[in-house]
Subunit: 388 residues, 2 copies
């Protein structure tokens, strides 16, 4: 990190609560006038002006120059803007079979992307692959690499962001793994470790469709089924670091055993692996997800039934989430969205059958997140860790 | 409302966001020093001092008098206190068979309680009973009645607090009922209408076991099964006014039809009425809840089975809530708590079987809320409506 970047990171980290809120508002709504910042944050215009000055001085925020005529650079109606190049961020998404990384600016615009395949996924191998991705991204950034202010790493499972420990990741087969410590030892600098769906939720809230929505949920379908909750303007992280475990709601037949060991979890019926297992069992041979999709599209009754069962359970799970949390919007993402035609009708019918009262007004939309979007979420989580 | 009370209510209502936070902090943590207020709210000491002054001037907050020696009434380490008698509040809880009201001071200390039985529960009859309770409480307060600054009314169901409309209350048999408008016409002043469990959650957060806990849930068991969520320091009200509908999570056998018309709701198995119906059906005669409790305590297998089924489903529902929202604490309340021995073991076993990862660390405690506590929650909701 060069001198300017260090100074900027320190300024953001040490800001007062008012200062943090002003920075986050400019970051996500740039360009924005000081009047509108005051409106958004509930702070006085004087407090906003006071908070903006050091950000401008540090080169994080651009304020229009004073002109001869009005001579007042702090005039409240003139918009201020984030300086995207003031800092670079790296975001890394760890999948079972692949590490995907992006380099972004402060507005999480992707400047470069890299990936490395994984054939095994023990922590040491994954850490080495991440280091390779980081080095490749640094090379791609060139001189700008000196401005890297943070690295976010997102992984599926129960992740304790404060300690950097992955307490449980069924998909990776990790348990009590100090992955943050491992990365620190290898990189010589801390990374922000975050649950992958939480990171995606931060990204959607700050830079995506969640902006301006006080309460929304992201539900991801595919290999894993997870969700991120954003209520009253904040991500719900869980008092013990776990929340949004929609894949492990006990909504299915108890006879269905989940890979986590519990009975009746949603994932035991509706994950990619569960759909593959159901179709394989019905047809008496190994069927992968791509073939299962083709079979369902061509009208194979066993494949159709497997997707219908999964879709009904996901719709019921979304109704469960909505009845409890009452969000305005549910965004369905994850790789399963690419075959959403196989889910949609049954999913919406199940939602309608179980959503309660006015909570049923919640809109359900899909968004085809690419794995780059997930990596971008990890970069957003790294930015957020600076701001808080 | 006398002149002082009107001025105080106006001051609170028109406060800046910082002013509101300072007032709420003093209200709930009184006595508290200005330094600690600054710590709690994240505001500067100067901002706290500025916000405290008008509260002192209006008689809402007591600051120790300046002494000759230090001569500085604003010294930051001296504690300030709420003046409980500065305002009176009325809180009303509407049950199917009874209206319960309390008069409280600003700290929701109960000064008087009144109730009226209900034999029918159409809106007009209920409104008349509430007016009777209000008049009786005013009489009990005597001269202090002039200081009544707000009336909170809580009722089970989907309540739109912003419009005063009860959109759906299965227990009362109301639908699209403008109960707030009805009360305004009868009383000549607005009431704060709130879902009963949300009101109880506000009360627990501000004046109960929820104080100091960033995230907790109240789950009420009994005639209705509901919950209130308090996450990241705020009540989750739902974007459309509905949240915490744990009684209508689709966790039961779809063959069980709920009084709301949906299939497989928790209430269809675990509410008081459902337990009565199950035991009555098994024994071939009408069995009320008190007899069902006696039968279960004396080892009747049908009654025991009915409570076990209800308890398992409630425990599963709490695990569902915990897996999604990750609270630190779940408080079980409601009239069903009086027989919690019939629920506890099965409920905790079901919770343990389905709670995911570190979310399972969530503590589950019971609290025997009286109906007066519910009415007190309505008073707290009325105070909160002033502050926001």
């Amino acid at each position: 990190m060069d001198h300017d970047t260090t100074a900027r990171a320190t300024l953001i980290r040490s800001a007062s609560e008012a200062g943090s809120r002003v920075f986050a508002t400019i970051l996500t709504r740039s360009p924005i006038s000081r009047i509108d910042i005051a409106r958004q944050t509930g702070l006085s215009q004087a407090a906003v002006t006071k908070a903006v000055s050091p950000l401008v001085a540090a080169g994080l925020v651009d304020a229009p120059p004073a002109t001869q005529r009005d001579g007042n650079p702090g005039r409240p109606a003139a918009p201020v803007s984030i300086v995207p190049d003031a800092m670079m961020m790296l975001g890394i998404k760890v999948n079972v079979d692949e590490v995907i990384g992006v380099a972004t600016d402060l507005a999480t615009t992707v400047l470069a992307a890299e990936n490395r395949p994984l054939t095994v996924h023990d922590p040491a191998t994954v850490a080495t692959a991440i280091i390779e991705v980081v080095r490749a991204l640094e090379e791609r950034l060139g001189a700008k690499a000196d401005a890297i202010a943070g690295i976010g790493v997102s992984v599926s499972g129960d992740v304790d962001t404060s300690t950097g420990i992955v307490r449980e990741s069924a998909i990776m087969g990790w348990s009590g793994e100090d992955f943050g410590g491992r990365m620190l030892a290898l990189l010589g600098r801390p990374v922000t470790l975050e649950n992958d769906v939480h990171a995606l939720t931060v990204g959607e809230h700050w830079f995506g469709v969640g902006l301006g929505t006080e309460s929304f949920a992201i539900v991801t379908i595919g290999r894993g089924i997870g969700s991120g909750l954003h209520l009253n303007g904040q991500v719900v992280t869980g008092a013990y670091g776990v929340s949004g475990e929609i894949g492990h709601l006990p909504l299915a037949d108890p006879a269905r055993i989940c890979s986590c060991g519990r009975r009746g979890c949603v994932e035991a019926v509706a994950s990619t692996a569960a759909i593959e297992a159901t179709v394989s069992c019905a047809l008496g041979r190994d069927v992968g997800i791509d073939e299962a999709v083709r079979l369902a599209h061509s009208g194979d009754p066993a494949a159709e039934a497997a997707f219908r069962e999964a879709a009904g359970l996901i719709g019921t799970a979304i109704a469960t989430l909505v009845n409890l949390a009452g969000p305005e919007l549910v965004i369905i993402g994850g790789e399963g969205v690419s075959n959403f035609d196989l889910f949609e009708k049954t999913l919406r019918d199940a939602f309608d059958a179980h959503a309660f009262g006015a909570a049923a007004r919640c809109r359900i939309v899909t968004r085809p997140h690419t794995f780059q979007d997930w990596a971008r979420g990890a970069a957003a989580a790294a930015i957020q860790s600076l701001v808080r």
